[in-house]
Symmetry: C2
Subunit: 494 residues, 2 copies
């Protein structure tokens, strides 16, 4: 992959000075259009060999464009807030919103490459990490982002010369650390690993752009032209109204015998009030004890409540929180996304609420809106919700691998029971706010929603993050089942 | 202040059971109205003696109301992200938005009280901290927030009994730490300090509510009723459309001789292009060196660019950033606030962008919008912008005391020069986007804007955070003056 970046590329001064003014004007214009249209975000990854001019190129791009609308992020050691969450949390925090350019140095590629080159990970582990990266980047692109991945390369000889030159100049000496020389010694090892990484992660939507770093003018011009080309090409595509082909396989139709996970549930379960009260105390007490377990400080709990309208999510949530100290949990009621959230990939607004270790986050509705209401109401394209199943599984998988416990509940009642509850709500003054036209509208689409739920359960009930179906016509039964499930799941890990 | 909280207040079980259902229904209704109206945020502070039932009360409030719209924050040790910013940064992060209730445990009162009781600070230092708190709380209330400050009190004897009871019960034992017993030994000292704190910070808009904590039912009912009363009274006031009286003294009129800071500036300064280029290199080089100084890692720099339209802010900012590595700075272009920002006090959107140590944040327009465009265009009330001078000074003072260097530039050109530049912009294709109807409209209000600028300079050029006036008709001169000022200010501290 690096052959064409060891050709000794060079740009003459005269050519450079002729090209740069045109390029700058075009970059500024493109940036301006990007900013006004707010149609997509531009994420630029800067990676490559030490001393190949990564920092200089970024500074140059900031100089050429309007730096007020570029965000440059460097990732060193994670902060303690970052360490208490999945590794990708810090990258989600740094994603540029639509209309802006984000330049990420030392991004999600650094750790996997260093770990493998330093023999701290196996090839299998590296490939696992790369697969995760590919999925993440694929999602970014599918969400409408423009992703440009630059790899700045230097041949071994060129790197030696350059490091020496930088070390000699008192103005630049600080930039070369002993680690850089250490790494130089392992140039071949790093090259081999990098080559593997680039090959595995050069995908159709997010290919690598390898730039020879030895000549300052060549390097700068190439980066600038590539960025310009990326932005303008992307705008042309947008103007043509080109829609990406939906590559997801269509979902299977309803089972021939019409049996599914929901209609085979026994929704009416028995639990008398006095028994309920005993059990409630028992399970709330156990939950409280588990949450105070010192081992829990290394874990976090994410609870998802989804369900049919009026199935009793609110009441169930209150029975869970009643067992917890208010300092330990946060409830996130999921409504329409805010303006800042709409400028990001749809999972962004859930990532921002992930709890740190030792805490609970309870989502009252969740990212599953993508494959439920957004699918049914057509708020997103078919391609969008079809790919969401895999993206959601990836997201939950990351949370679980970072010590999160993911507990998901679907609360089900029958259509008749729902009608009864809607009417009750309308009749009771202090409950009237809970019911509106939208609820009645959604009710008419009952079979379509139920199909969407079944598809969701099928595709996202994973070993790490299984769904628990809750028969919710008897509220007492439902609440106890939820508490018990939560306790048992927590008990298994702390 | 604690006498009435040592009376042995008690509520009988029968009374409690009769009152609670009514209270809950009313609280839920009030919370619902708050949530729908999104007119103000409710910030509840929970402080007081250890073992007086603070945690229990908060849990009770969460149980009584809809916990999905309450955020409870506990503040322990600051995280490293918090330590790299002014102490109040973490509290700003936790402020509830309009329509929600935020409960803050271990808030801005904890450190001052502990420091004084443990003899780590003098009375003067305590009073200084309390003054800062009073100003902050005053701002919160003036910004439309409802602030309820609860102090849970126990007599010494009651505290001893309670701590003992908690320690005996295996279910609650974990809650009493050795620190609690240590503090109990210093009960009298804590009481004396707390009494002083409460007296100094019981202000008209934000008085303390002292609650005797010995009886669970009394304590819970009192807290709930006080919260309900606070919310409903506040809503009544809003409905009546009551406007707070503007208590700020009117600003002085223009000086009798019409001389002011702006019209006495010599706007046309000389600096030839070749000299400019030499100087530019020199000052950019020095800035670069200073930013790399190891001492700088303990400081941060906040640069504010304000000025007449078309005075050359953008160009000046680029000459500053060209001297810096893109990883070290962030430029914040200040436009209309987002939805999330509008739900908070107006300074919130600037607090969120404060740099950590070792970094620059450059504000392209800033919080001074409050006393410039918002004042002139009537986007806020007279009372709002009149109090903003002091609030801004407090904000900048906090930043400076936490190691921030605050450098503020006002770029001035004459009305004639502005006209010339506007016309040039209209004539140049790639600059046309920079000029719109609004610019022409603002231009007509020139004298009003200039008066606002003079008032601003007068009231916010402080010892810690002085304004630098920049004569900007010669762009070369302006840019060098800005770089030089920045270098000299930085040089004085690293």
């Amino acid at each position: 992959m690096f052959e064409s970046a060891e050709l000794g590329h060079k740009v003459e001064k005269a050519v450079y000075e002729k090209e740069v003014p045109k390029l700058r004007a075009a970059l500024l214009a493109a940036q301006q259009e990007l900013r006004e249209g707010k149609k997509f975000a531009v994420t630029v990854l800067i990676n490559g060999v030490d001393g190949a001019g990564k920092g200089e190129t970024v500074n140059l791009l900031n100089e050429w464009m309007d730096p007020r609308h570029i965000e440059t992020h460097a990732f060193g050691e994670p902060t303690d807030e970052e360490r208490a969450r999945p590794p990708f949390w810090r990258y989600w925090r740094a994603l540029p919103p639509k209309g802006r350019i984000g330049i990420l140095f030392g991004n999600w590629y650094t750790d996997p490459i260093v770990a493998r080159a330093e023999r701290q990970s196996s090839v299998a582990e590296l490939d696992q990490a790369l697969d995760e990266i590919n999925r993440f980047e694929h999602m970014l692109v599918q969400e409408g982002g423009l992703l440009l991945k630059f790899w700045f390369h230097l041949s071994k000889e060129a790197q030696r010369k350059r490091l020496k030159a930088i070390s000699k100049d008192p103005d630049t000496r600080w930039r070369v650390t002993p680690t850089d020389w250490e790494r130089f010694k392992s140039y071949d090892r790093y090259k081999k690993v990098s080559e593997h990484v680039l090959r595995q992660t050069s995908t159709g939507p997010a290919p690598w752009i390898v730039v020879e770093g030895a000549d300052e003018r060549y390097r700068g011009l190439t980066a600038g032209q590539t960025l310009l080309n990326g932005i303008t090409k992307r705008m042309e595509v947008d103007e043509k109204g080109f829609k990406p082909r939906v590559t997801a396989a269509p979902l299977p139709p309803r089972a021939a015998d019409k049996r599914d996970l929901l209609n085979t549930l026994e929704l009416k379960q028995e639990l008398a009030k006095d028994k309920y009260e005993d059990q409630l105390e028992k399970w709330q007490g156990r939950l409280n004890m588990l949450a105070r377990d010192p081992d829990f400080r290394k874990r976090s709990v994410i609870v998802v409540f989804e369900g049919v309208d009026a199935a009793g999510k609110g009441g169930a949530i209150r029975r869970v929180t009643a067992a917890l100290d208010a300092r330990w949990y946060r409830i996130v009621p999921v409504a329409a996304p805010t303006e800042e959230e709409r400028a990001q990939p749809y999972l962004w607004r859930f990532w921002r609420h992930l709890p740190k270790h030792g805490r609970f986050t309870i989502f009252d509705r969740s990212w599953y809106g993508r494959v439920l209401v957004e699918r049914v109401e057509g708020y997103c394209s078919d391609g969008d919700w079809m790919r969401a199943y895999a993206e959601i599984n990836d997201f939950e998988d990351q949370v679980v691998r970072a010590g999160g416990l993911m507990v998901k509940f679907w609360l089900q009642i029958s259509q008749e029971e729902q009608l009864k509850r809607f009417k009750e709500r309308e009749a009771t003054e202090h409950k009237r706010f809970k019911i509106g036209e939208e609820d009645w509208r959604n009710r008419k689409k009952w079979p379509i929603y139920q199909k969407a739920v079944c598809d969701m359960l099928e595709r996202t009930s994973t070993e790490h993050a299984p769904w628990t179906l809750v028969e919710a016509e008897n509220k007492y039964f439902a609440r106890i089942k939820i508490l018990k499930t939560l306790v048992n799941r927590l008990d298994a890990v702390v």
